[in-house]
């Protein structure tokens, strides 16, 4: 049994990575979209990102070099990843619970890595780091997930829009967390279990640990397939949509994509049925120019 669960959990980890990558690949394969940028766009350089300006603020923008600030974009991403700043700025009430939850998840990621490291390389510092990250992670993530669930149940505004599967997602996470807490507090240390899994030592583990690991595996496989994979969506929504204000200029990546899209459009006609959609644009008229009319100033 322990071989099976060890294999399953390693497979689940692999699935998590591969399915996440697949999801990202699917989004990246979609055709170049219409421009939908929204300011502030943090990569705008020359101090413009601060107030939401763009290259359009300069007359004859196409003849001037673009000033881009990678540093500012990175800062914005980090602020979003580490502090969930948009939620903090616009919805503080929810930010507290969401932040506690997400920091908990980050700690659990750190814990998983340190657990593997300390299993292979059991230095004290590795073990202590893993232990601290694990304790913090379990406490914060559980508190946060509980908070999110309670808010969703008792806040009528949120409840109206919440579907059963969204409760299910939170409950699944809570079950994984709680079964983990019980396992590591009362049954055996996670270091012991990790070494068993990693080295396939095959010693018998307690049923609660099997349950925990099975739930964890299911969750790892399920996350990329569900909207809990919003870490993928968020990347595309910001980087590829809201912050993408690259103009179509000769030789640009945008231009290459558009040329490809034009070719694809020849085989896949977008047939909408309303009669006006088939109408062609009016031909330009033969209007005499000012020089032909002889009224050049």
């Amino acid at each position: 049994m322990s071989y099976i669960i060890a294999g399953f959990i390693l497979l689940a980890l692999l699935c998590f990575v591969l399915l996440t990558a697949y999801r990202a690949w699917k989004y990246s394969r979609l055709p170049l979209h219409a421009r939908l940028e929204l300011y502030p766009v943090p990569k705008e350089g020359g101090g413009r990102a601060r107030y939401g300006g763009s290259y359009y603020e300069e007359s004859k923008w196409w003849s001037k070099p673009r000033t881009l600030s990678k540093a500012n974009e990175t800062k914005d991403i980090l602020m979003e990843m580490l502090f969930i700043r948009k939620l903090f700025d616009n919805n503080k009430g929810l930010w507290w619970v969401s932040y506690v939850f997400h920091i908990g998840i980050y700690c659990l990621f750190a814990w998983t890595v340190m657990l593997l490291v300390s299993t292979i390389w059991p230095l004290d510092v590795h073990i202590y780091t893993a232990a601290i990250a694990g304790m913090a992670g379990y406490c914060l993530a559980t508190l946060g997930a509980l908070g999110l669930l309670i808010r969703r149940i008792f806040d009528t505004d949120l409840r109206s829009y919440t579907t059963p599967v969204e409760y299910f997602n939170l409950i699944l996470i809570l079950l994984v967390l709680i079964s983990g807490i019980i396992s590591w507090l009362f049954v055996c240390t996670p270091f012991f279990a990790a070494s068993q899994i990693l080295f396939f030592t095959g010693l018998a583990l307690s049923p609660i640990i099997y349950i925990h690991l099975a739930l964890l595996g299911i969750m790892l496989i399920y996350i990329p397939a569900s909207k809990m994979s919003h870490y993928v969506g968020k990347f595309f929504a910001f980087h590829k949509v809201l912050w993408d204000n690259d103009p179509n200029s000769k030789g640009s990546q945008v231009n290459l994509h558009l040329q490809k899209a034009a070719k694809a459009a020849q085989t896949q006609k977008p047939e909408w049925l309303a009669p006006h959609t088939g109408m062609v644009a009016p031909a330009t008229e033969q209007i005499p120019t000012s020089s032909e009319r002889g009224n050049e100033p």
Partner: protein
């Protein structure tokens, strides 16, 4: 407001009710309008409209062309066609929107942050149907039910399914026209999702597949534009007459020679106005003529069909119309051989030609820019000389969404105002965080039925509050002229209707207009005041 109206879930859009969610409460306005609209009153719809259109969402009708089916077979066909249209939205038919659309449909965390940013929702004291996610969730549920495996297998467990009848579908169509497409909600979403874009996608499926759109923006809008040359109905001969008249009249009025070069091949600049300006606010294109002349810019107008009307209503509801119009504009500039297109004071024309059209084809056409950036440069370079004391009255700047939040032009207009307006004021919030005027996405032009009431009392409410607050105690001083600078035809149209409704100009001398009129008024070379209220 009765609790029932404020506790509507997305699936309740199919609920049987004469009016699903009437507007029964409006956010209070600041003094001196604090006693207005305590019990909001709206124009009664004609009984004929109630019988034949869809007034059952909130008692307003935006889509005058949407008629009830004559028979059950017609209704069945309507539902079938709608389901097909939803499918096309998520297929290659809509390739340019697949990524943003799928992201928004897949990832909404239902955190409700976006609702707090929406002026329509806030103005109605948080009425459920006006939440940015309400209409999105309705579409999401329909899409899931008919086009996803999880929706087909698991149904309501994964939030799939809405009862589809003519009534529920028509309500969704109407609901897509309760959003100004200002995308303020998208700006605050922690996941970067865009309910404004989604509202437009809903409009698109109705228009592109089912031929359903408000006549003010379709038949009398983009179709008129494509067929006659302008959404105003202005033909080329009429335009030439108007311009001739303007040259004479404005030369007389301003005491300087006003000239509108037309179809000048090889000019540096093709200036593209919203043609409504020529008819409704002729002082605006005239101001451009004066400024460009004074700065020595080599510019021209086009008299070609569509070339004298830079609007693009397709931007609000229909990609196919948007494309035809934008490509015609680009073609006209290319034919004239100009080196750049400069967009006049029309926000959505900015977005359509400078931003959206930029990725419509692979061809890199004549570059497009905003008049604001051009004028700011002229000011910076000292090519326009001002005496700012001529504008010594409170001037509040409104930021048109299309130019500011959606194009990132924030500072140049402020630089200009700092040079010409000693009493320049900001609205709060300003810049990219501004609120829509309330007329965005075509509302400024939609007057059918009682929709005007919805625009003025609901959509423009937050903007009106901002304006009153910006002028502070000066607002009520009838002896002191005040000016809302709105460099966008659409926003000006809304201000006109708003100020007329609340008698703001007549009672408190709050005026509205563009930026260029203020610039001409402050020109050192201007002898008499250019602004009518100062004359």
């Amino acid at each position: 407001m009765s609790a029932a109206h404020n506790k509507l879930k997305p699936q309740n859009i199919a609920r049987s009710a004469m009016i699903l969610s009437p507007v029964e409460q409006l956010a209070p306005l600041p003094a001196p309008y604090d006693t207005c609209d305590k019990v909001p009153e709206f124009t009664e719809l004609k009984p004929d409209w109630i019988d034949t259109r869809c007034a059952s969402l909130d008692g307003f009708v935006a889509i005058d062309s949407l008629r009830r089916p004559a028979s059950p077979e017609d209704e069945e066909e309507f539902v079938r066609s709608f389901i097909v249209a939803v499918g096309k939205l998520f297929a290659h038919h809509n390739s340019k929107f697949l990524r943003p659309l799928n992201l928004t449909v897949d990832y909404c965390a239902k955190c409700d942050t976006c609702s707090q940013a929406c002026h329509v929702y806030q103005a109605t004291c948080k009425q459920d149907i006006y939440r940015p996610i309400y209409r999105s969730e309705v579409l999401r549920r329909i899409y899931k039910k008919h086009y996803t495996t999880s929706g087909k297998l698991l149904g309501s467990f994964v939030g799939a399914g809405i009862d589809l009848t003519w009534e529920s579908i028509a309500r969704l169509a109407e609901l897509a026209y309760r959003c100004n497409l200002c995308r303020r909600c998208a700006q605050v979403c922690p996941l970067g999702l865009d309910n404004g874009m989604l509202a437009r996608e809903i409009r698109k499926l109705f228009s592109q597949e089912m031929g359903i759109a408000p006549s003010a923006i379709h038949e009398k809008g983009s179709m008129l534009h494509l067929n006659v040359g302008s959404t105003t109905g202005l033909t080329r001969p009429a335009l030439l007459d108007t311009i001739e008249f303007l040259e004479e009249d404005m030369s007389e009025l301003t005491g300087r020679k006003v000239r509108f070069p037309i179809d000048k091949e090889g000019a540096d600049v093709l200036l593209l106005h919203n043609a409504g300006e020529f008819l409704t606010w002729p002082e605006n294109p005239t101001a451009f003529a004066i400024l460009f002349d004074e700065a020595g810019i080599d510019w021209t107008l086009s008299s070609e069909s569509l070339g004298y009307d830079g609007v693009n209503y397709g931007l609000w509801y229909d990609d196919t119309q948007a494309r035809k119009i934008a490509l015609t504009h680009a073609g006209i500039a290319k034919k004239l051989g100009v080196s750049r297109i400069v967009i006049g004071e029309c926000g959505h024309a900015h977005k359509a030609l400078a931003v959206s059209a930029n990725r419509m084809t692979s061809e890199v056409g004549v570059p497009v820019e905003s008049n604001i950036s051009v004028l700011a440069e002229l000011v910076r370079e000292g090519r326009l000389v001002f005496d700012s004391s001529k504008n010594d009255f409170p001037i509040a700047l409104h930021d048109p969404c299309n130019v500011v939040r959606q194009m990132g032009i924030v500072k140049p207009q402020r630089d200009i105002l700092k040079a010409i307006a000693p009493q320049f004021l900001e609205l709060t919030p300003e810049g990219v965080n501004n609120y829509c005027c309330g007329g965005g996405s075509g509302f400024a032009l939609m007057h059918s039925g009682n929709f005007e009431d919805f625009k003025v009392k609901v959509c423009a409410r937050t903007k009106f509050t901002q304006i009153i607050d910006a002028f502070g105690k000066d607002f009520i001083d009838p002896a002191l002229p005040k000016y809302v600078c709105a460099p966008c035809s659409n926003c000006k149209g809304t201000m006109r209707d708003l100020f007329k409704h609340y008698k703001t100009t007549a009672t408190y001398q709050v005026h509205y207009g563009g930026l260029v009129e203020l610039m001409v008024n402050a020109l050192a070379s201007t002898k008499t005041p250019y602004l009518e209220f100062l004359q």
